[in-house]
Symmetry: D2
Subunit: 417 residues, 4 copies
């Protein structure tokens, strides 16, 4: 047991941190202005991507990369402290080609794509030349249980034909968005096992019948690359657009989620660190009733609890990453659910405290706090709502209790009297 | 960074766990019955001490032991997971000679005792032949700030004469209690620095003028070895009863607190594990409105949150232990304050959930939950109240913000618009 | 709508308050000492009962009293503010003949007793000559659903024969305890409706086969009149010991609970007021780090939140009492569940804050806080656990939503876009 | 004590409720569409204003109206339940001429305006012909303590000249906005009492030097009538633009706040009722893991707690209104602080639960929840942050404890042992 980052991680943290300070932050205002005007800030992002790649800060997490593919091949445990640094400026992840949902899409393409699919879709993604979308969640069903999904994938000769409606398709408005990974029902046999009914199809953004219906705001914030509602009307793609095997969609969806969730969590924790830092500075500078805010014991408590809770969340996240590396994503499933709940709730709690410390300014866009909070609030649904993850943790805990043969609990009870 | 226990720790955990299951638990009912009748259960404890020592499970934590002193010499990080196992049966720590306040007292005797003091007091403690008391807290002042203490230590020729009143002297009613480490004012110079006014004196229990006034119950529970109020009336001891230097009491008190707090925290976390285990078993067995308690989503949430919070607390505790080992107790001071707050609050929260799952039985003494809860509640004061520790964490965080030269926070603020 | 107490209530409040200050409080230490020694303090209580009765402060709540029965006949709304005053000294309720479970027992005897039962049991209760017990809860089943109860009531010729085990029988050790109201299964027809299977029997304490097995501590506190486990072994009583109709036990149990719960809640709120008062005094007197505790903003927040939460709970309680008076106990069922949850949770929260403000002393028996807290914790089960009451409130709310014909919610949803 | 609304209030509630259902809700979509496009929806609002006024639903709260002024003259206690009904559709208050900050401005104009000021500014406001702004909060100081305000009001001959910067000027972008009530420093004598340094000036929106710098978003939401930053550069107004006496601004500001806060609170509680209603409907309709959300016990708890907390908040609010009517605004100052904290925190809590029940849709603008939440979050600052109000409540409570002559607390302490 050792709580120190490795030499390699410390070194990368320093480099990424410097990149954030010297390249990203100075460009932040420009990025925000362009986005505010409705223009995707390619002119900010593209030169920075080139610079990051030239410095070896590219595809930092993708352990399965082949020799001829660009990237840094970090383990989950190594990547987590790097991802944390990107959190405070959400758009920065794209500069390192580490942004959702592309990282998750790259992972499952790595695992399931045919050589032709790799050539056409994965390689450009690895090079940051295109962006991608993942289309899972549907408005009409509780998508936290993916077996509920209803979008139809019909085999018709050499084609698949897709009909349905998806929403919260992040990135569908990115100017480079090239394709969507669409999950839908491919097996209409009522007797089929519930987890063997869905497939994934690779659908080009420009396929006839694909329509971006609207960009859905989250807490009144419209993402510049969109959290979009997308409709699919008789969308026809060739049969080789199938990803992996037919009716194996559920397994593919599961494979996708582990590392992606951990990355989200670490970025989120980085946002909490920023909020705490801003909160402390505000507490030092602002005076009321003759004293600095930092001299009030209730503010001190908020600061202390934030520090304590952030540290605990980071440790839980790193341990989940370590378990994924050590025992595999499936074995770490409960760990990932645990940190997913913790990180999302922590973020809104710490960000809310920071907003309160800033007074009304904290709710304005004069600080990054309000827009970051909205992200944290959304994370309580992204990759599954809190309720589903708590259920996963609880069922695992109860199952362990059921199996326990030591009779420890029984022993305790009877030894009492 | 590595989250696995070392081979040595895993091995010791297995052995201590087996000892708990096969030696301690079977004796628990007997111990409780004797204590209920007001008899200190020496007949239970002494044979088990001999057995534990013969198996090498003795003085597990005391890294500074010399070659001719008995004990296992674990680091904080190694000892923490062992202490956790002892938590569920509070009296078990004595069996391994690892109980408070003796461990803390042994530590400071190690650091500050003269050879003669070692011979007379430390060696018997190391051998488990005597027990000891620490007398710091006073009823009349806020003792969380030790500079407030008022008990007088007057130099009179070759003697010190002590007058004052202390309370929450744990262990003063233990039949083997042999001495108290008494902290009091020795420097009455009004100009002396506040941290150079107090000294520690070793006072035999049977010194004339020492009187155990009463055993103070905690949440109606009277500890069999007492949390006692003790009065000191013209108690005269020879000058060589001084521990360390005169007026160095504050530094000695500080030295005492680090490892002791961590041990408390880990035992407390072990109690939470027991509570969670009992809670799960209860949830499986008890039925209401036609379903097991485990099938209700609110109970599931309580179970899941308990698991998640326990894991986070343990990680924070282990990291604090690691930092003490790596950087020293002083450097880990803020870490220790953090885990102290977390562990005490966690315990009462998790134990309360478990009590609720057991219905009214949870409040009775038919389960260990109620008495363990009382311990958790007391821990919110023992070694300093939550408020003081939060203050320590906050001041450290704000101090770091004040020193930060990167202008990171400023940068963020100005880059926003 | 009017938030002022009536003239009659203000007058009674002043008189009861004076009685508390001048009669009860001066006797409190004596009462506690006797109880600590294991003697029920009749010598304290009986003279005070005579005095209270002579002043007309007797059976303050029992609206259905007949002209020849002693008592003050207050409505729920009138009685609630009086009950609040008794809360801080739990034993004081007996002085006014207003203590649980006797008040509840008097109520259902009033409603269901035969003339002979009234003569034998109710009248002595009204005169404070005897005490009574209610035996509902059983250790082996989730008694929050009374249809689970298993104690057998077998008709055998002109007798009923009772076998079973009950616990948390409050008052069974009172020296004047004369009878128990026992609820059990009287209808063994498996096809009978679940709510038509139980009956209530009046069982004299000295009936052969009745055995007080033990006094069960609550959070290590043993009530002097006991929360007892009682076993019933072939207990035979004549057929006229049946209360009300056979198999109508469920309805009788329900009738019992409304007013009793409200009284508990108001006494509990009175305890919160005491805790807040003590907390403020402590905050003014105790100094740490050079300032009074009252000058720390976190302590200020605790005080303010306590005031705010107490006021809200009292209002909710008074409104529930008003609804019982106005619309009947059945109509106020959900209101009573609501305040039951609120009051119990509030008490432990406010008492806990007060204990924290007192430091370790708060956990000792040097203040009334620790023993009052234990009462509050028990109230989270007494008359049903929080979970059951929240379920009642929720089901009512959802049922209203289901019935809503205004389509208000639908309207809102569709008018949005 | 009586918890029923009066006949008059019940009648008005029915009429306003019908107006909301039949006039406001059908127009809501149109209003939202216009606002989304950046057009203030006068074409929706003006006809509805005429209709509301013709039905006597106009200036419902303004008890001091004279006979020749339009309005319904309700007391605070009467108006509160009416305001609650307007809460769910924030723009509806304007239809009844009951919207902030105009109501507050009308109140202080009533109290302090000269006849000419009444003619020019108050009468058009009462008739809904113009709108107004209040300019108090400043970006550079903690405005929760109004003595900090720095905007300069310099007397120069027959004029006042104003220089400074204000923000969160609600309504400054309303097309009918006609004037601002500006608070600033008018007394530069360093020895003047802190509460005798500020004045209020009536400043026409079109006065040279007044500039709306920007509309500040709150949680990414831009109000169509603006929460604006406004700069004042050498703004010159005639001396008769002074409101009330010179240097009496602090008292005027205080007078303004009581009723306004209560109205905000009641509207906020109405929003909570809407959220609860929507939550229940969602819980009935949405299914996951084979059951309706309403069948999950954790969702049931959220629903029950929301109902319980809303009811408590409403009672506290009504009591504060009652106290204002009965004892005056000054006497009710602490009550208003209490409900202010409760209402704002409740709203974000209940709204958050509702958003969570809706899944990701809850964060979108497909329901009113997200935008209402933002309002609730802002209310934690509007009219003073939580921290300031808790401080008010606490100081009052401690002051009462300090004055208590009954020695009740002392009695309790000493009677304990």
């Amino acid at each position: 047991m050792d709580f120190a980052y490795s030499k390699r991680v410390e070194d990368l943290r320093q480099r990424v941190s410097a990149f954030m300070d010297h390249e990203i932050l100075p460009a932040n205002q420009h990025w925000l202005e362009l986005a505010e005007r409705g223009t995707y800030p390619l002119e900010v992002v593209e030169p920075l991507k080139a610079k990051a790649r030239s410095e070896g800060l590219w595809n930092l997490f993708l352990p399965g990369l082949k020799d001829d593919e660009p990237g840094t091949r970090l383990s989950n445990l190594e990547y987590a402290p790097i991802a944390e640094l990107m959190g405070p400026v959400p758009w920065s992840a794209e500069v390192f080609n580490c942004n959702a949902p592309d990282t998750g899409n790259m992972e499952i393409l790595h695992l399931f794509a045919t050589p032709e699919q790799r050539r056409q879709w994965l390689n450009p993604l690895l090079n940051g030349e295109i962006r991608s979308v993942v289309s899972i969640t549907e408005p009409d069903v509780a998508s936290s249980d993916p077996t509920n999904l209803q979008t139809e994938i019909r085999r018709d000769g050499d084609s698949y034909v897709i009909n349905g409606r998806k929403w919260f398709n992040t990135g569908a408005l990115h100017p480079h968005a090239a394709f969507l990974l669409v999950m839908g029902v491919s097996n209409f046999d009522a007797d089929a096992p519930r987890h063997r009914r869905h497939s994934f199809i690779i659908v080009p953004m420009d396929a006839p019948g694909v329509r971006v219906v609207r960009n859905i705001p989250i807490m009144s914030h419209y993402a510049i690359d969109g959290h979009c509602e997308v409709s699919f009307t008789e969308v026809r793609v060739p049969a080789d657009a199938l990803l992996g095997e037919e009716n194996a969609g559920f397994a593919i969806a599961q494979a996708r989620l582990g590392p992606g969730r951990i990355h989200h969590c670490m970025r989120t924790i980085g946002q909490c660190e920023l909020a705490l830092e801003l909160m402390c500075h505000r507490a030092l500078q602002r005076r009321v009733f003759g004293r600095a805010l930092a001299d009030f014991a209730n503010n001190q408590d908020e600061i202390a609890l934030s520090r304590i809770e952030i540290d605990q969340a980071r440790l839980l996240c790193l341990r989940a990453a370590w378990r994924m590396d050590t025992d595999g994503n499936q074995a770490a499933r409960v760990d990932v659910s645990a940190i997913k709940v913790v990180a999302a709730r922590l973020q809104t709690r710490v960000l809310d405290r920071a907003m309160q410390m800033f007074g009304a300014m904290g709710l304005s866009n004069d600080t990054p706090l309000a827009s970051l909070w909205s992200w944290g609030r959304a994370l309580r649904f992204i990759d599954g709502p809190d309720e589903v993850h708590l259920r996963v943790v609880s069922r695992d805990e109860v199952a362990k209790a059921k199996l326990s043969t030591s009779q420890h609990a029984h022993h305790f009870r009877t030894s009492q009297r």
